[in-house]
């Protein structure tokens, strides 16, 4: 026991030892550490409530003043609100305990290993893997298939729609994987992010003029739905971790930008996918 340093009291990390990563072996101080982490949780809970207050206010004010219709089930609404607050609190707590450290830790280890190949494999797998199963993407892909059927880009059968939706999902997931690879290489090679992003959007606008009108809206929305709540912290930690473990890189200017690329490439890829589908 004695050789382990504990985290500072201000730290949110539970009662884990910073040096060896093992917890639970300082029984005399466990109580103090537990109290500390409860304090952090309580603070997080207050912050969560402050974060949720605006949306609660907006919904209530519009409900009371504009629509003026009685709302049923006040009890279930209150319970639901408390669930949202508790969920957000736990999520933020877990984020600092797990998602940030593991993302940064892996970025550091990969940088130390010095293998660009594995870094690229990691970035692609992270982007592809977290996107393909994303529920929001599954929903948007199904809607896109519906739109394509109405616009008569594909046949209106169930099979045609399913295979189209599947195609959209694969396209978007590959696009996010590709974006993270591009972003990681950018950090290594020190490319200019503004040029990449602006160039990308110029390309988007150009390709839009060739794409079928009906599908443009869905394609643009695909860029927004890809970056999920679990992926974003991991990707942010990956970028910042990588930038801070390389010499001559600033984590603020070089670490961010991965999410921006991951919102851009899906639009581009989906537009191209739709043009190809229409040509066939």
């Amino acid at each position: 026991m004695g050789s382990c340093t504990l985290q500072e009291t201000a730290s949110p990390s539970l009662f884990f030892c910073i040096d060896c990563g093992d917890g639970f072996h300082l029984p005399r101080r466990v109580a103090a550490q537990l109290k500390n982490s409860l304090n952090v949780l309580a603070k997080d809970a207050l912050t969560s409530m402050r974060n949720l207050l605006p949306i609660v206010l907006v919904i209530s004010v519009f409900q009371l003043l504009v629509i003026q219709e009685p709302v049923s089930g006040l009890v279930s609404l209150t319970v639901g609100g408390m669930l949202v607050a508790a969920g957000l609190t736990f999520f933020i707590f877990g984020l600092r305990l797990a998602l940030f450290p593991i993302g940064e830790g892996l970025a550091h280890s990969l940088a130390k290993k010095g293998s660009v190949f594995w870094l690229v494999v990691f970035a692609f797998a992270l982007g592809f893997g977290t996107t393909i199963a994303e529920p929001a993407l599954i929903a948007v892909a199904a809607e896109a298939a519906e739109v394509a059927a109405v616009a008569q880009a594909i046949e209106s059968t169930v099979e045609a729609r399913d295979s189209y939706a599947q195609g959209i999902r694969l396209t978007v997931a590959s696009a996010v994987g590709f974006a993270l690879v591009l972003g990681v290489i950018r950090i290594l090679a020190n490319w200019s992010l503004p040029i990449m992003i602006i160039g990308g959007y110029v390309l988007v606008v150009l390709i839009t003029t060739f794409a079928p009108d009906e599908i443009v809206g869905v394609a643009y929305d695909c860029g927004g739905v890809t970056t999920s709540t679990v992926t974003v912290p991991l990707v942010a930690a990956l970028g910042v971790g990588l930038a801070s473990s390389l010499k001559g890189r600033n984590p603020l200017t070089d670490g961010f930008g991965l999410i921006a690329l991951a919102s851009l490439t899906p639009i581009l890829f989906v537009l191209i996918y739709e043009i190809i589908v229409q040509w066939n």
């Binding site: 949306i55 004010v61 629509i67 736990f90 877990g94 893997g129 992010l193 869905v218 927004g224």
Partner: protein, 272 residues
């Protein structure tokens, strides 16, 4: 009892979403990096918190905000509500008559962006990385303002039927000009905040608003015109965060005390 069943179902769902990512990260660590993960127990506990937190969060949203938000989007876009007592056809409405919709869109975009967990995560990271110079709260207010304005403008687009890519092209022109003028430090973060805004809370609410509006406005097809609001909510935060950087630069040539000092103390001590 019902609540316990529902909670466990949502927590199980979020476990199904998170588990593959967790297995991938652990396997990568073990097979490619070699050796066990540092702080393994802490990370496992953290993942449990993430899974449970995400499950409860989604359950709560599904019980309260989503049905209410969808209902209100429907009610506010209902032609009967829009022209009130006047006996006119919906076709007689001009775009100014939808002022409640714009106001609601502004408020909804703003407040749902503030509740977005992914945005909280990025602002926490930006706060640590910038050594506290970027306040977590002020960055998020900047993003939320952009999201609100974006969603509101997106509603205007659905009502007037102007093609989506005109707005997107114009928006990116503004971004290009701002990128040249804004402090270099804020640019990547501003680009990121676009993608981050549109996540768990914002997308379902904003999509419902767009579909409801496209259904209510004559001559619009919900299938074809209902989309694009998410793209607006993703574009305008870039502009507002760049503007926030420009404002900060104009005010802060002399390194004065930080206006967001309070937030900094609260939330910057998480780096492990």
């Amino acid at each position: 009892m019902e609540l316990i069943v529902a909670s466990s179902r949502f927590i199980a769902n979020s476990a199904v979403d998170v588990l593959p990512i967790m297995i991938f990260l652990f396997a990568f660590q073990r097979l490619v990096i070699g050796g066990p993960l540092p702080n393994r127990k802490q990370i496992v506990v953290g993942f449990l918190f993430v899974v449970v937190g995400l499950g409860l969060f989604l359950l709560g949203l599904e019980q309260t905000l989503f049905p209410l938000g969808r209902l209100m989007a429907q009610q506010l876009t209902d032609p009967e509500f829009l022209h009130g007592a006047i006996e006119l056809g919906a076709a007689a409405l001009v775009w100014q008559d939808y002022y409640w919709v714009y106001l609601f869109a502004l408020a909804l975009g703003f407040s749902s962006a503030l509740a977005e967990p992914a945005l909280i995560a990025v602002s926490m990271k930006a706060n640590t990385v910038s050594g506290g110079a970027i306040g977590t709260w002020s960055l998020r207010v900047a993003v939320a303002l952009g999201a609100g304005i974006g969603v509101s403008l997106g509603c205007f687009r659905i009502i007037t039927g102007v093609p989506l890519h005109y707005f997107i092209a114009a928006g990116y022109l503004v971004v290009i000009v701002q990128t040249v003028m804004a402090p270099k430090l804020i640019v990547p973060l501003a680009y990121d905040s676009g993608g981050v805004t549109t996540s768990t809370v914002t997308v379902p609410l904003v999509t419902a608003l767009g579909l409801g509006l496209a259904e209510a406005v004559p001559g619009r097809n919900p299938l074809l015109d209902g989309f694009g609001l998410v793209a607006f909510a993703a574009l305008f935060p870039i502009i507002s965060v760049l503007a926030y950087g420009q404002l900060a630069m104009m005010r802060g040539r002399v390194p004065t005390s930080n206006p967001d000092g309070q937030d900094r103390i609260q939330e910057d001590n998480h780096a492990l």
